[in-house]
Amino acid sequence: MTRRVAIVGYAQSNHQYDMPLPREDMVFEVVKGALEDAGITKKEVDTVVSASTDFLDGRTISGVFYGMAAGAYLKDESKAEEDGTLALYYAFMRILTDIYDVALVEAHTQGSCINPHQVSFYMLDPLFDRQFNVLNDIATAALQARMYMSKYDVAEEDIAMVAVKNLANAASNPHAHRRMLDVTPEEVLNSKLYYEPIRELTMSPISDGACALVLASEERAREFTDSPVWILGAGSCQDSYLRDRNLHRLESLEKAAQRAYEMAGIKDPVSELEVLEVSEKFAHEEMMIYEALGLCREGKGRVLIEDGITSKYGELPVNPSGGALGADPVCATGLIRVIEAAKQINGEANGYQMPHACRALAHGQFGLCAQKNVVFVLGGE
């Protein structure tokens, strides 16, 4: 890296279903919050990168409408679609070139207006898969879950334990949408069945929400704050389309993580990371994510859950904020993970702060069965 880049401010909405704010106001609130958190005004922002998709926003060229709310007036603005972590990746690149020093990254989705599962149908190959009219993101995730379960002997009960962990964790996070402190495995297993074995509580909720963060070069970061959160590593990768994939493995995440670890100089993630925030849009994916991130061997993700290693009180907490099962405003979900990881490093995660969190990992995903993955490694001073 030619220069160091830090996160200097962030904000997120209280994610919920049917938020009583139009999209632009929701964006405005978090952008304002992030700037206030960084102690700057929009004048200091050089460039803005946002994330959302036209389909999820329900109109073409949707960037037109929330750009001004994101403070982009007359600025060099761009829109990296899909997950907010991709927008962060792009903003990171923009600062690394020296052309810009301060960037604002914003991501949002109002799932209550445009149902993300319905939209996911339009992610399918238009000529073949879409014509059958049977698949969407939940159906494909069900295939993925079944393949994973049968290959590694994973039971629905194991998957339910992931949901119990994250939904209970979400209870201490005031921003989370689905907060269920006393949820039991039975309750999860008896929740509404969508596509076998995917149930209401083993998939992420439909949330409205937004988040924003401010990114700055080292020099500017030092001016703004005493506690910058450095981006130590970043990586992204995409797998092939649904039909040609090993659905039981997240190979693109393995590669994205490798890149990020290499950049951050991490050799053993288990001992070198203190906390992880991952985007598990479905409960079974969290175990697959453990494996892809190198936290355990292939097929052994279940053990980390069984032994409570990734629980709030375990050796390597994953998703103390509740993760995507706690709230999933689609395009914002990955960026919220980055913010949650930064909060842990800054000691700001009231109620779910992990002790001695110096290095944290944040993960974002997009596409059917987590086709595309982005990994960030963050660190404190």
Partner: protein, 385 residues
């Protein structure tokens, strides 16, 4: 410091109103294959990919996901970007940043559109504010017509001035084997063509095309080896604004283009664009914009553009040739249109523009325009920045 970055390969499909011979994935692959061939590379040499289009124009979401076999994005970092009509340059810009940041050495940027898959004007209409504008501002023509009407009123420009731009671009397209519309026209033809929305007539407006474009960006050290004369990126600048289409907006100037080009000139050390730039590839969605926006590019003072156009300054044999390729008036696969501008500018620098080559091009400028809200400017040169 930003790493020095150059364009080393350009690939375009053939463009037409309806490409029934290919699907989206195959269309993308056609451009990608040609770009790789142009740079003498194979897919193995590509480190990352950026791609973009306008989702609703195909009624398909998430092109990066399902087009992997066409784009080559298997187990590679890929990013999808979309703004407005600027999308092509938004993607090209991201390709530049992927290399300039030092993350990747060789990056493939893809812009594409299959407008025939959906109703473009209906899709663009959803871009209008739903409660007030959507009912009466259909598509892209209305706002541009309003803009030029105000310009006519203020500066005494005429419909014929716009027609001259249309004739120039359409006739330039005759030299471009990739162009969609290749017919010789006259000012009379333009004036007689049906009115779409006064003062814009059919031949004043861009068509909608199916097509794709791919560019390959490479870092210093590799670029020189891949191309004998790489097109070095000197600066890319963007600016954005918000406009209610129904509001009487920006009648005198396009503020985003003014800001973006001023920023770009400053970074590239250009003080007199008319003299210092050798060729321009402009995103002109309508011929009327080819009059008015010359002023926003600081090529001349306010109200002076009609005179320069009548004098032929921007013709192929003029002082500053504009759109040797024919521009969007001849070819408009929307998500690719702005990338084609960058690609054509690069071809001019590299000396590979064939019959549409302008002699001795050392500095080329490309612009992009998106929904009256975005303007982007790219400046390329034959020397390193």
């Amino acid at each position: 410091m930003a790493r020095r970055t150059a364009i080393v390969g350009i690939g375009q499909t053939y463009h037409c109103a309806r490409r029934d011979d290919v699907n989206g994935q195959e269309l993308i692959n056609e451009a990608v294959t040609r770009a790789l061939e142009d740079a003498g590379l194979t897919m193995k040499d590509i480190d990352a990919i950026v791609i973009g289009n306008m989702d609703h124009f195909e009624a398909i979401n998430y092109v990066d996901g399902w087009s992997v076999d066409g784009s080559g994005a298997f187990m590679r970092p890929i990013m999808k970007l979309t703004t407005g009509g600027t999308s092509g340059m938004t993607v090209a810009t991201a390709g530049y940043y992927h290399v300039a940041s030092g993350f990747f050495d060789v990056v493939l940027a893809i812009g594409w559109e299959m407008n025939s898959s959906s109703d473009t004007t209906a899709a663009i209409t959803t871009c209008c504010q739903p409660l007030i504008e959507r009912d009466f501002f259909a598509g892209a023509i209305g706002p541009l017509a309003a803009e030029y009407t105000a310009y006519i009123k203020r500066f005494g420009a005429t419909e014929e001035d716009a027609a001259l731009v249309s004739v120039r671009d359409h006739n330039n397209a005759l030299n471009n084997p990739h162009a969609h519309l290749r017919t010789r026209i006259t000012v009379e033809d333009v004036m007689k063509s049906p009115v779409l929305c006064y003062p814009i007539k059919l031949l004043d407006m861009c068509p909608r095309s199916d097509g794709a474009c791919a560019l390959i960006y490479a870092c210093e050290g590799k670029a020189e080896k891949l191309a004998p004369r790489p097109a070095w990126v000197h600066t890319i600048a963007g600016s954005r604004d918000f406009v209610y289409m129904g509001e009487p907006f920006q009648h005198e100037e396009l503020i985003t283009l003014e800001r973006a080009s001023a920023r770009a000139y400053k970074r590239a050390g250009i003080t007199d664009p008319l003299k210092e730039i050798d060729v321009m590839e402009l995103y002109l969605p309508a011929s009327t914009t080819g009059v008015k926006w010359m002023e926003s590019l600081w090529v001349c003072g306010r109200g002076e553009a009609p005179r320069l156009i009548r004098e032929g300054v921007f013709n192929m044999d003029g002082q500053l040739p504009v759109n040797p390729s024919g521009g969007p008036l001849a070819t408009n696969p929307i998500g690719a249109t702005a990338m084609i501008r960058v690609g054509e500018a690069a071809l001019q620098i590299m000396g590979k523009a064939g019959d549409r080559q302008v002699p001795n091009v050392r500095t080329a400028l490309a612009t992009a325009f998106g929904s009256c809200s975005w303007s982007d400017v790219t400046i390329l040169r034959d020397t390193k920045p």
